[in-house]
């Protein structure tokens, strides 16, 4: 006998076998990318905004610092220092080119032979390069003239470029007070053009040399007695003419 349950028109159904459906969620790469991109964008937006603010502040600080530096600069100080420096340069340039005329005289003195007399001397300074000396010279013979030229050339101070010109001879008669001729002599006169480079005669201040004192107000001319003394001393000087070129 079959059970009533078997007579049912409803088809029998076996024990339900539930299908084990896999519930693995599918996450697509695109989803990852989109999320990452979105978050990265949001983060970078915030970061860029904040960093931009920071950078702007830093720029403001730099501008302020630069303005402070500029405002601390003093144009007056610069002008004062520049003027001082320029004044020093100008003074230095004159000091470097300061020469000793006395050295020129001494060089001329040393290079002048005993039988020579310089009758007239002109000296011109050409810029800061050299002195040009033009001397009218008298001597007793041509030999002395040649010897004198050699002495000038041998001088360490006078440049070797020496021009001797206008060599003339004259007969000079020595007369007494009555006008009678005692003796006659030959005078050879010539003109010498000499050059002395300034570098050869620099002024060297000596510690022993007295500085020119502060000038008193009064000005006085030497009196006649002093002049007379000067004359006598000049006569003495003339006696030792070998040492004096003029």
């Amino acid at each position: 006998m079959t059970s009533s349950s078997n007579n049912s028109f409803i088809p029998k159904r076996g024990p339900v076998k539930r299908k084990q459906t896999s519930t693995t969620r599918q996450v697509y790469i695109f989803t990852y990318i989109s999320y990452i991109l979105m978050f990265a964008t949001l983060l970078s937006t915030g970061g860029v905004y904040l960093y931009g603010q920071y950078i702007d502040n830093q720029l403001d600080e730099e501008i302020t610092a630069l303005n402070n530096e500029i405002s601390s600069f003093s144009g007056e100080d610069l002008a004062r220092v520049t003027e001082f420096d320029l004044r020093l340069q100008q003074a230095s340039s004159r000091l470097e080119n300061s020469v000793s005329i006395t050295s020129v005289f001494e060089a001329l003195q040393a290079a002048t032979i005993g039988t020579v007399q310089i009758m007239n001397l002109k000296m011109t300074r050409e810029a800061d390069e050299k002195f040009i000396l033009t001397a009218q010279i008298e001597t007793d013979s041509f030999d002395s003239t040649i010897f004198q030229r050699g002495e000038f050339r041998r001088s360490n101070i006078i440049s070797e470029e020496i021009v001797i010109s206008g060599v003339n001879t004259d007969v000079v008669a020595n007369t007494n007070q009555e006008g009678s001729v005692l003796s006659t002599g030959t005078v050879v006169s010539f003109s010498a053009l000499l050059e002395v480079p300034l570098s050869n005669v620099p002024y060297v201040p000596s510690a022993s040399a007295p500085a020119v004192s502060a000038a008193p107000i009064t000005i006085s001319q030497p009196d006649t007695e002093n002049a007379a003394e000067d004359t006598s001393s000049s006569e003495v000087t003339e006696d030792v003419v070998n040492n004096d070129p003029v």
């Binding site: 695109f30 860029v48 530096e69 003074a91 011109t124």
Partner: protein, 191 residues
């Protein structure tokens, strides 16, 4: 079948790209420019700072120069307006007296009128004086020795020596003295 979130994801991507294009990238560019500006400002600040430091050190050097030396410099190279055409002949007369020569004459001739092309910054303004004396050779040498030692430059430019009566020498010369020439432009653009 299209997943539900796909449109949202595409929207996010589009929005992200839009944000990047419209904000992030320009902001980066701006930041780069600002950083460049900062670098420029820093460089300029360093330059100005360097100039200030140099100026301060130079000021200190100038302050370290003693007042005596500063006065000597001012005496040696005075300002242009302090050159006195009477005081210098007076000094020449006094030097003549000290040297023992007979002072004949001294007068102001003029100032140098070099063309601007010839003048350098180191060239002071020259003032020329004529000066004539009489004396012996020794006295004349003494005179030149005193002129060399003067507190301000007295440069002999031209010199003529000739014999006169009594063994004396007549000396005529032109002498240059100098004053500070301010060749700095008045309105200097510093920076």
């Amino acid at each position: 079948m299209i997943p539900k979130g796909l449109f949202a994801q595409i929207g996010m991507v589009i929005l992200s790209v839009a944000i990047i294009i419209t904000y992030v990238e320009p902001a980066f560019r701006d930041i780069g420019e600002v950083q460049d500006n900062i670098a420029v400002y820093q460089t300029e600040k360093e330059k100005v700072s360097l100039v200030n430091d140099q100026l301060n050190s130079l000021l200190q050097i100038q302050k370290d120069v003693s007042l005596v030396d500063q006065n000597r410099l001012l005496t040696y190279m005075p300002d242009e307006d302090t050159i006195d055409p009477i005081a210098i002949p007076r000094d020449l007369a006094l030097i003549s007296v000290q040297a023992g020569v007979i002072y004949k004459n001294a007068a102001f001739v003029g100032s140098s009128d070099k063309s601007s092309a010839d003048v350098t910054e180191e060239d002071p303004q020259a003032y020329t004086f004529s000066y004539s004396v009489e004396g012996t050779y020794t006295q004349v040498k003494n005179l030149f020795s005193l002129l060399e030692q003067n507190h301000y430059p007295l440069e002999v430019r031209d010199l003529s020596i000739s014999r006169i009566e009594g063994g004396f020498l007549s000396v005529e010369m032109t002498i240059d003295t100098y004053a500070y020439r301010n060749s700095l432009p008045t309105n200097t653009l510093v920076f």
